[in-house]
């Protein structure tokens, strides 16, 4: 039943499939981000306590959620690479790490400039902020380790181990606001009962979450394809792609 999936284990098939997916992801992410951001920054009502400073939420929450989502997908790819020895899974790890690092940096930075007017401090060493900072270092570690080996088979394995071990940080980030007393507020939308947010504020946030997700997909596809052609550059299909038959 799932046999149709099998040809996609071939790098050239994957390259052409991801090439077909890429424009859809790119266009949809631009549309979602445009709609969500304009709605959030111009049309959403101001918060009754935080005024207009709350609008940072439309960047902060999607970046933070996707920084964790990216880590989860990177860890899954690392697991697949480790267990089934799939080269392409290691390439996915290498492709995702820099994107995750940028999302984490955005989450930390937007958090800091939101924290300054609301908490009176750019930074506090509380559980949520510290565990998110550790996530940034984990991403940087994966990038550094992958770059440090010229043998990419070894590089993928070493970076994969760090990516997997670091996954323990994910539940710590998520539950940090419940396990410890933190300055950071508790979950607003990622909880099981009704979100504690007005729908006029919530919709643009959900649209931007989708937009950041699609942007993550777009960048992952682009970087994965880069990784694919450079690692396979000696293979005939890459030659055929850029030089033509001969």
């Amino acid at each position: 039943m799932w046999k149709w999936l099998h040809p996609y284990a071939k790098p050239e098939k994957t390259y052409s499939l991801t090439g077909k997916m890429l424009p859809w992801f790119a266009v949809l992410s631009v549309i979602a981000l445009t709609v969500g951001t304009i709605w959030g920054f111009v049309f959403a009502p101001a918060d009754y306590q935080q005024g207009d400073s709350f609008r940072i939420i439309y960047l902060h929450v999607p970046a933070a959620s996707l920084s964790m989502g990216a880590y989860l997908s990177m860890a899954i790819a690392a697991f697949i690479g480790m267990v089934w020895q799939l080269k392409m899974a290691d390439m996915a790890v290498a492709a995702i790490a820099p994107i995750g690092a940028v999302f984490t940096a955005i989450a930390l930075f937007t958090g800091a400039v939101w924290g300054k007017p609301m908490w009176g401090a750019w930074w506090v060493w509380d559980a949520r902020l510290t565990s998110e900072l550790i996530q940034l270092f984990l991403y940087l570690g994966v990038i550094a380790i992958y770059g440090a080996f010229s043998d990419k088979l070894l590089a993928g394995r070493a970076a994969g181990i760090l990516a997997l071990v670091g996954a323990i940080n994910l539940p710590i980030i998520h539950y940090s606001v419940e396990w410890w007393n933190t300055l950071h507020q508790k979950a607003t939308i990622s909880k099981l009962d009704k979100p504690s947010m007005d729908s006029d504020m919530l919709w643009p946030l959900l649209i931007n979450l989708l937009g950041f997700g699609l942007l993550f997909g777009t960048l992952t596809l682009m970087r994965f394809r880069n990784e694919l052609i450079i690692r396979e550059s000696h293979r005939p299909w890459v030659k055929k792609l850029f030089i033509g038959e001969k």
Binding site: A46, S53, L59, P98, R223, F242
Partner: protein, 68 residues
């Protein structure tokens, strides 16, 4: 529309500095990553082309030596 004028929009109810700093950082870092990824693709393709062209030239040179 929540703002009466464009200057009110820029002011963000007095939080303009913080809000626009957050926007600037997000746009610059995501834009930078996207541009870097596109440029990297170009470099890779140029390198691959150079590599195969070099092989082609070496083969051609070898052939010439054999004929001479």
């Amino acid at each position: 529309m929540q703002f009466d004028s464009f200057s009110a929009f820029l002011a963000m109810g007095g939080y303009g500095f913080y809000v626009w700093l957050a926007v600037a950082f997000s746009v610059i870092s995501l834009g930078g990553l996207t541009v870097a990824t596109i440029l990297r693709r170009r470099t890779i393709i140029t390198e691959i082309k150079n590599k195969y062209n070099r092989i082609e030239r070496m083969r051609a040179a070898e052939k010439m030596e054999n004929t001479l």
